[in-house]
Structures are given as C-alpha cells and as structure tokens.
C-alpha cells in the first residue's frame, strides 16, 4: 500500500519535474534563472571583483523576477495544460486520489523549480567569492538567506499560480499582473500594506538572516519564524483550495 503510493508519487512528481526541467517552456525559465550568472559573470569578465555587497545587490535585483517567472510558468501549467490538452478528465478517474494528484504534482514542481532557481545563485556565489579571494565560507549566511528566500518564494508563488492556473483560462496574464504589479508596489507602500505581499515576507527572511548589506536594510517587524510560516501557509492554503476546486468542479469532456 505504502509502496504503491510511493510509486504514484515518483511517477507523477517525476513526470512533473521532468517537464519542468526539460520542456520548451522550461528552457525559457532556465534563460531567466541564469540571469545572475550572466550578470555577475559579465561583471567579473569585465575585470571587476564582485564583493558580498555587490553580490547581494545584484541577486536581490534579479530574485523577484526569477522567482515570479519560474513559479508562474511552471506552477500555472500544472493543471492548465492538462485542462487544455483534455488529459485531466481521464487522469482524475484513474488510479490516484485527487489529493495525491494535487500534492504530487506540486511537490514535483517544487523540487525542480527550486533547483532551477537556486543552482545559478549558488554557482554565482562561488564565482563571486573566487573573484575577490575571500573564502567562500565567510559570507555563507548571505547564500543561505537567498536559498531560504527562494525555497519559501517558490512554494508561495507556486501555490498561488497553481491555483490561478486551475481556476482561470488566462492564468499567465493574471499571474503577470499579480507578480509584477501587486508584488512590486505593495511591499514599498507605508504602514501594514507590505504584509499583503509575499515579497515582504521574503525580504524579512533575508533581513533576519543577514546583518550587513542591502538584505539587512529591509524595514520589518517580522521575526524569522513568522516570515517563513506565513508564505508557507499561503502555499498550503492555495494547494488545498486547488484540491477543493478539483473535487467540486466538474471537468467537462471537451473542456
């Protein structure tokens, strides 16, 4: 029983991960996710050192874009493509429960999307360290902070885009508006407004983990635990809501 469920997990998560990493749309997100590598590689190639301050500035400048694009492209397609290709109806009547279906797809997305986002950041971190001659271990908390922000961001954005992708035909459009308007403007508004954006929680994670440089300058009252927990709860709620939609909404044969 458990072995069979494990088999379903590896099958579905595996196929999802494979699609995420290697499909044509996957190639687009690789191009975006590799931006840190071009930029920092380019700066170093031009003969400049990239110290930890500059590394922080450059990665932070690109991180939102990378997270939103990767999560949007791969999160929203988890069900949207199945709906459009007419494959979901059959899948939902077959040897897997609907709860597992949503969960395993999401986990397959999560692992692979996180890989896409973090690999270039890790690579550029070591590249930057090498360019200055400072031992890589010295500023490792900065790398840790970015990886943590990515890990939480890929979950939270991915959950939201999963939901949007299931519920809306024009998921990409809606996701772009949300990702690049809402998540850009709300974090810099005064008062409690930033609390409505995932970006604010991600920046708060960075602030709590790093004591120098631009990451440490974010204004927040959130502690690390809250800053991690809230986005993860958002992800869980979005995944749960997708499941509810899947069991309540009838999939038309010609949907």
């Amino acid at each position: 029983m458990i072995a069979e469920e494990w088999g379903r997990f590896t099958t579905l998560a595996g196929l999802t991960a494979k699609t995420t990493l290697s499909s044509r749309k996957g190639a687009v997100t690789w191009v975006v996710a590799l931006l840190p590598l071009y930029v920092i590689g380019g700066v170093i190639a031009a003969g400049r050192q990239v110290d930890i301050e500059l590394f922080q500035i450059l990665i932070l400048a690109l991180l939102s874009l990378v997270l939103v694009v990767t999560a949007l492209v791969h999160g929203s397609r988890l069900f949207r493509e199945e709906l459009e290709d007419n494959t979901l109806a059959y899948l939902t009547t077959r040897g897997i429960s609907k709860a597992s279906l949503v969960a395993y797809k999401f986990l397959g997305y999560y692992g692979s999307a996180l890989l896409i986002v973090t690999l270039p950041i890790v690579a550029t971190y070591f590249l930057a360290a090498a360019s200055t001659g400072v031992p890589a271990a010295e500023n490792i908390e900065v790398l840790g902070a970015f990886v943590a922000m990515a890990a939480v961001g890929i979950a939270a954005f991915g959950g939201l885009f999963l939901l949007i992708g299931f519920a809306l035909k024009r998921a990409l459009m809606a996701g772009l508006l949300y990702g690049f308007l809402w998540e850009t403007i709300l974090p810099i508004l005064p008062g409690n407004v930033p609390l409505l954006s995932i970006t604010h929680y991600l920046r708060s994670i960075g602030k709590n983990l790093v004591s120098t440089g631009i990451l440490s300058q974010w204004i927040t009252t959130l502690d690390l635990f809250t800053a991690v927990l809230v986005p993860l709860l958002i992800a869980a709620a979005a995944v749960g809501l997708t499941y509810v939609l899947l069991i309540t909404r009838e999939i038309k044969s010609k949907d």
Partner: protein, 309 residues
C-alpha cells in the same frame, strides 16, 4: 446486489435532463451494450459511473462500491478501465510512455508492466511505433492507444464510450473481435454505442436508452418482446384490392406493402397464413413465396425510439 447497479440515477445540466430513472443491473461477465441515439445520455451515464461527474440524484454501485463515496472511489478505479469519448492522451509522450505512466499510477510492478505494454501494443499493431510521440498518430491510432490504456492494469470492468468511433472498418472489426474475446474471458464490459450491428454482434445484453431506459434484454428477448410476428407474402403484383382484402381479415393487425411485398402483422402466423393466402387469391393475387419476417434489432430499436418520441 449486481456487479454494476444503478438506482434511479438522474443527471441534469441546468434545464436539460440528460439521464433519468435509470435502473440498470449488469451481472459480472456480461457485455452490456448501452445503445442510444446522439444525446441519449450514454456518455453522461458513463461519466457518472467512472466518478467524473456527480449524479443529480440516485445511486450507483460497482462491485459493491458506491459511486461518489470517496473511500470507495479508489476501489472502483482499480477495478475499472475507461475509454472516454475524447481520448486525452499525453501528446508529447510516446505511446509506450503513455501506457507506462498509467500502469505506474495503478501500481503495476515494472516487470509485469513492461510485458503487458508490449503485449497490448503488439495486439493493436503499434509496437513498432511505441517510441513515437502520440502527437504524430492518426485518429484511429490514438483511439487504439486509448483503448489499451484502459487495460494496462488488467481491470475486471471496462467502460468503453464508442470504442470504434473513428476507426477504419478493419480496425473496428479488430476491436469488436477483441471485445468478444474479453467477454469470453469473463470481463464485464459496458459499451456505449449508437451502432446497432455492433451492439448485436458483441453484446450479451442490450439496454436501449433515450434519456430514460426504454428496454433491456438480449437481442432475441427484445425482438420477442417488442416485435409482433409478421408474414411476408411475395406477390406477382401487390394490388390495392389484395391489400384491402387482407386488411379486412379480423385477425390481421396491420398490412403494408414494402418493395412489392405484402407485410402482414398478426398474432399467430401459423394459424392465420392459410386464410390470408385464400384472401389474396380470391382478390386476384398470385403468391410466389410466403416467409416469416426476419426480426432484427434495428426494428426494435427504431420502434422503441419512435414510441418514446
């Protein structure tokens, strides 16, 4: 309880009643043809039985499991295979990968899965194309892949929604022959079709549906129940006089001329035929042949639909 059973099953879409008062009882090992015209509710019924859509009211059971109860759904899925109206294959995946994916989801062990997929693909003549993406397949090839996809986990019950739609005659025959084989192996098959001869050829029992179930039984039973016996008189010339003379006989229920032949419906042909013959001759008719009318499913079917309309 029967293997597949529905109790007052009903489904509406807004104001449209797709299916109602559906009470089916299908025994294990039966090949049941669910026969009806376009829009009769065949697909809707199968979509309810395969847990794709919820009934508006009524209940359905498969192998003792209640359709729509979440803990029972997994049992139902494990014991059923399903060919939907639209195949819904993964276009980018190869034929073999499509089958393998679903085999895995069913937890079919790798060694058995491999052998099974090879066996199924060889059977439909697509083994050589196993590594081609489904996107490169013709409509009929897709249909064949979708049919065997329903069988990777070797289910006891197959729900097939128009399996021969879109197939060329020889492929359609392959599929029909296979359905007969499956039936003789003890598989229970629920076959949606609007093709009369297909229903007659492969099924052990037929249900005629048009929103409601109009009749069910073996093809013979249906003919016996719904068709009055009739005699066919082939005459040198079927004149109006002859028709009137036969119609005047009080035991004759109905007379009409079809292709120059006189078709006479009556309760007991053996008893009535001599008297009809006399009347024909008296009216100046010349009899060449007298035969019993062949009663096919087609007449039953058309008649049931006419009565329902």
């Amino acid at each position: 309880m029967e293997f597949i059973e529905t109790v007052d099953l009903k489904r509406t879409f807004g104001d449209i009643v797709a299916v109602e008062d559906l009470n089916l009882r299908i025994r294990e090992g039966e090949v049941f043809a669910f026969l009806g015209p376009n829009g009769a509710g065949k697909t809707t019924t199968v979509r309810m039985l395969t847990t794709l859509i919820h009934p508006t009211s009524g209940k359905a059971y498969i192998g003792g499991n209640e359709v729509g109860r979440e803990p029972d759904s997994m049992n139902i899925r494990a014991m059923t295979g399903f060919l939907p109206e639209a195949p819904g294959l993964y276009e980018r995946l190869s034929a073999a990968r499509n089958l393998d994916f679903y085999g895995r989801l069913y937890g079919v062990p790798e060694s058995r899965r491999k052998a099974r997929i090879e066996e199924l693909l060889k059977w439909i003549g697509l083994w050589k194309r196993r590594d081609s993406p489904v996107a490169t397949f013709s409509k009929g090839m897709r249909q064949k892949i979708a049919i065997v996809r329903a069988m990777v986990h070797d289910p006891q019950i197959l729900f097939l929604d128009e399996p021969t739609a879109g197939l060329d005659p020889s492929a359609a025959k392959t599929v029909r022959d296979f359905l007969v084989d499956l039936g003789s192996m003890g598989k229970t098959i629920f076959l949606n079709t609007h093709n009369l001869s297909e229903a007659e050829r492969v099924s052990t029992r037929i249900g005629v549906v048009s929103t409601q179930l109009l009749a069910q039984g073996t093809p013979k039973e249906l003919a016996a129940r719904y068709l009055k016996p009739a005699s066919v008189f082939r005459l040198r010339e079927a004149t109006e006089d002859v028709v009137q003379a036969v119609d005047a006989l009080d035991f004759v229920e109905e007379v009409h001329v079809e292709d120059g032949e006189l078709h006479v419906s009556l309760e007991d042909p053996q008893k009535g035929n001599p008297a009809i013959a006399k009347a024909v001759i008296a009216a100046g008719g010349e009899i060449e042949f007298i035969v019993e009318k062949e009663m096919g499913l087609e007449e039953v079917y058309l008649r049931l639909l006419e009565d329902a309309a």
